[in-house]
Symmetry: C2
Subunit: 179 residues, 2 copies
């Protein structure tokens, strides 16, 4: 139940239309809370209904025409509440780990290639995050809290990709030891 809050956050960062939001999800917030444009439009409708956001006044609302949204005070209040709301971490879901467990029962043929493919993908993602860090959080300097928090989040992404790269490397080595 976090999509509306992801959208509120994105809109506070910068008022946007549905399509702009979709694009920003593809390369920012979406790194840890992804959504398709259909989900986003549906949720924008609900948030507007709820009085949490509003469309900037347009002369005549027409389908197909750009509609820009901004957060209303009620929306900001809801987001602020949500930040302090406790919520347990969801158990992880990894189809890859599940595959390995299945492989223990039916044989590991084809598994090696998949591990290598994932390793390459995680390396790519890591590079992408590091490029963003270079661009958005340069050098050592005292930063304001918003920037420090955003940087912490990005660091989470970076460290997690590093974790997978290392774990997959180790798993491949371990697979080799036995064959």
């Amino acid at each position: 139940m976090s999509l509306p809050h992801a959208i509120l956050t994105a809109l506070l960062e910068k008022p946007s239309s549905g399509l702009e939001l979709t694009r920003r999800f593809d390369k920012s917030i979406g790194y840890f809370w992804s959504a398709t444009h259909q989900q986003i439009y549906r949720e924008l409708g609900r948030l507007e209904q709820a009085g949490h956001i509003r469309a900037l006044p347009a002369p005549v609302p027409v389908r197909g025409q750009r509609k820009e949204y901004e957060v209303l005070p009620a929306g900001r209040a809801e987001l602020s509440d949500w930040v302090a709301r406790p919520e347990d971490p969801k158990p992880m879901r990894s189809a890859l780990l599940l595959r390995m467990r299945a492989a223990a029962m039916v044989g590991a043929s084809g598994l090696r290639a998949e591990l290598e493919r994932h390793l390459a993908l995680h390396r790519e993602q890591l590079e992408e995050y590091l490029a963003i860090e270079d661009r958005d959080f340069p050098a050592e300097r005292r930063r304001a809290e918003p920037d420090r928090l955003r940087h912490l989040v990005l660091r989470g992404g970076i460290d997690l990709e590093r974790f997978w790269v290392e774990w997959l490397t180790g798993a491949l080595a371990e697979l080799d030891r036995g064959e």
Copy 2:
């Protein structure tokens, strides 16, 4: 779309009834592919329809009466295919990271407590995994492939919990630096 394969794997490890499966999900396969008993019963029905599993012959099938399933050759073949089927990792989803990003916009009050709570939960989970490792994969000895694969999977869970413990510890320290 991995729940049926999680169930096939669990049933190959040991034929079971729906409730037994639910319990084993709660403390084994469910660590990386969780499911409720409702999902499991529905999926058992589908797998039986598809001819991938069968209920052990019972005199008269009655609601409320234990029904044990086992995997049929077709089910094993399907699982074997699936293991080699490529599938990209899903983008991660972390409500906690999203909260931090939201906190950058509306203020971080209440966030510290939530980070600490998550840190404690991840420490607990780590302990649980380590206990399982002690129990199921003792000492240094040459092991057969199935065991080595299962151990790799558990290692993944352990390392991931360690990752979160370290990251959360660092994030808390970093939060303190500025207040």
